[in-house]
């Protein structure tokens, strides 16, 4: 079993096909999070270009969700800084970060069981729009996500995967500059995954995305550059093909070369 830890952040093996370096939207410097004695994230230097769609993969417990929680303000970093769209958002409260333009879909669907699907989208849109326009956005999202028949249903009564859709829809209603999606296709069947890919591609036209996923087929359909987390650090950042053939990645994460669903 190799150590697997590599110097964090250095954008290694960046292939030419990744395209020109675009303006930076998000940047972290030396970002770390400790829980008591457990080092969940250590010294992460991460950079995302405006308009990029980045996938984040890695073993369970590698620190991906903790990283997301720090970006969205749900957890204060132990060390390091986060720069978003020119401002330092390190340690800012969640509602301020959301207003600056970051939306997040958490790993475990974080929704309101007693409220309807429609109300979820309405409330998400209402933060920046008046009631009438928020209602229009909500109706449009119901159509786009194929949830129109469930519009008045309480989200607590929905299936697990449907709750994921609702939370994804809320991030879309926010009109964010950056959306963090933590395992958006968990609990989805193959064709639902395909619909999600199409949806997220459309969202990516106006919004940057960082997506944590374990579904290799999903990632191969959608990703440009893939960042691999391992033991709280960035192991490697490269194109999908290079990542899949990397021996360390195969050992700690992929296992016996399964291509995913």
């Amino acid at each position: 079993m190799s150590d697997g830890s590599a110097p964090s952040g250095a954008f290694q093996n960046r292939s030419a096909s990744a395209g020109p370096v675009s303006e930076t939207l998000l940047e972290t410097q030396g970002l770390s999070k400790n829980f008591g004695g457990v080092k969940a994230v250590t010294g992460v230097d991460f950079r995302l270009g405006r308009g990029e769609l980045r996938c984040l993969i890695g073993p369970n417990g590698a620190g991906k969700s903790t990283f997301f929680k720090m970006l969205s303000g749900q957890l204060p970093p132990t060390a390091g800084t986060i720069l978003f769209d020119g401002s330092d958002i390190t340690g800012e409260p969640p509602h301020k970060i959301a207003r600056l333009g970051i939306g997040i879909k958490n790993q475990v669907p974080s929704v309101w069981d007693g409220l309807s699907v429609y109300e979820h989208f309405f409330i998400a849109a209402h933060r920046r729009l008046g009631a009438r326009r928020a209602a229009a956005v909500a109706d449009e999202l119901l159509m786009k996500l194929g949830l129109a028949t469930l519009a008045r249903r309480d989200v607590g009564a929905l299936a697990h995967g449907e709750r994921q859709w609702v939370e994804i829809g809320m991030t879309m209603a926010q009109d964010a500059k950056l959306i963090l999606l933590d395992e958006p296709t968990a609990g989805m069947a193959t064709d639902e995954v395909e619909r999600t890919v199409a949806l997220l591609r459309a969202v990516n036209i106006s919004t940057s995305l960082i997506i944590v996923e374990h579904d290799m087929q999903f990632i191969s359909m959608i990703a440009g550059i893939v960042t691999v987390f391992h033991q709280g650090r960035i192991l490697i950042e490269d194109t999908m093909e290079n990542v899949l053939t990397n021996p360390v990645v195969r050992e700690v994460y992929l296992g016996a070369g399964r291509p995913g669903r």
Binding site: P94, H95, A98, R99, S110, W112, L115, R127, R128
Partner: protein
């Protein structure tokens, strides 16, 4: 435990309620009208808690505090020769300001919901102590002597005739319930419901939830203060009893029995429990508290969601729809 949604039938319910309030005094004796008036005042107090607890998930044992402060404010102003109408408004403001202060410390100081419940209870008991120790005549506000545990008496009523006062109390209850229901269905109300269900999720959308919580908490305090002022007017007296543990718990019990989240449930719970207490006292049983306690325990065991939600669920299971 989701709040009952605003249905198409509701305006009909309101119309029926308004008519009932208008007509009922003519079918009752003066004594009964006076009796029911205080029940209506307690309903108002219960509804104030439901707005804070049932809607926004903020459990407060402090409604009795705001109630009492409202009553004292009314008494003090009246004793200083203010018109009762102004004194009533002052009672409302007193409740609102007190709740606003307490809410500010709780929500902007990031106290947990558990802390809010305990803190509001402690504040109520502190008021009990403080006002109970004002026996010496040197404790006065202007011409109003606070009177320690004996409190203040001879408080002038808002209206001298029982029936107009009944209509006033009933009318205010009606107004509060209708506005409350409309508030619950409006975006602000839905956001509060979302805060109750998952506050973090609301924050992640960019809402500053502290302000929302403060607003509804202050509103519920103001309504409790209004109820307190009406109470002082009704009975002509106010004393520190209103700040007792029993009174604080009473409000929570009303809402528990009737069911959280619909406003109607809170009113029904207050009516039922108080009427029951009254009846038990009337038939002269020596064990009023025991019987009441047993009733409440069986209630919690058999109908944990409260009376109204259980009743409505029963209706829907036999086919009567509820939107």
């Amino acid at each position: 435990m989701a709040p009952v949604r605003l249905s198409v039938l509701e305006p009909l319910l309101w119309a029926a309620g308004a008519v009932a309030l208008a007509v009922v005094p003519f079918a009752l004796s003066t004594f009964q009208v006076v009796q029911i008036t205080v029940f209506l005042i307690f309903c108002l107090l219960a509804v104030s808690l439901d707005l804070s607890w049932g809607l926004a998930g903020l459990l407060s044992f402090g409604q009795a505090a705001f109630f009492g402060l409202g009553g004292y404010a009314y008494a003090i102003l009246c004793a200083n020769d203010e018109t009762p109408g102004v004194a009533l408004a002052a009672g409302t403001v007193a409740g609102g300001v007190a709740a606003g202060l307490l809410g500010y410390i709780a929500f902007y100081g990031r106290l947990s919901t558990m802390f809010l419940a305990v803190t509001t209870l402690v504040v109520t008991l502190i008021l009990l102590q403080v006002l109970g120790s004002t026996a010496d005549p040197s404790y006065h506000v202007g011409a109003a002597v606070l009177g320690g545990y004996n409190g203040m008496t001879n408080i002038p009523p808002l209206l001298h005739e029982p029936t107009p006062f009944f209509w006033t109390a009933g009318g205010l209850l009606f107004l509060v319930i209708v506005s409350g229901r409309l508030l619950m269905a409006a975006p602000f109300g839905r956001i509060l419901a979302a805060i109750r269900e998952n506050e973090r999720r609301v924050e992640l959308l960019g809402y500053d939830v502290r302000g929302h919580k403060l607003a509804i908490f202050a509103l519920s305090g103001a309504i409790a203060g209004l109820a307190g002022a009406l109470f002082a007017s009704w009975g002509g007296f106010i004393n520190p009893e209103v700040f007792s543990l029993a009174q604080s718990a009473q409000v929570v019990i009303w809402v528990l029995v009737g069911g959280r989240g619909s406003l109607y449930g809170a009113a029904i719970g207050a009516l039922l429990v108080q009427a029951m207490t009254q009846y038990l006292g009337y038939i002269g049983t020596a064990y009023t508290t025991l019987v009441l306690g047993a009733l409440l325990v069986s209630f919690v065991l058999m109908m944990p969601n409260g009376l109204l939600p259980t009743f409505l669920r029963g209706l829907s299971s036999i086919g009567i729809r509820q939107r």
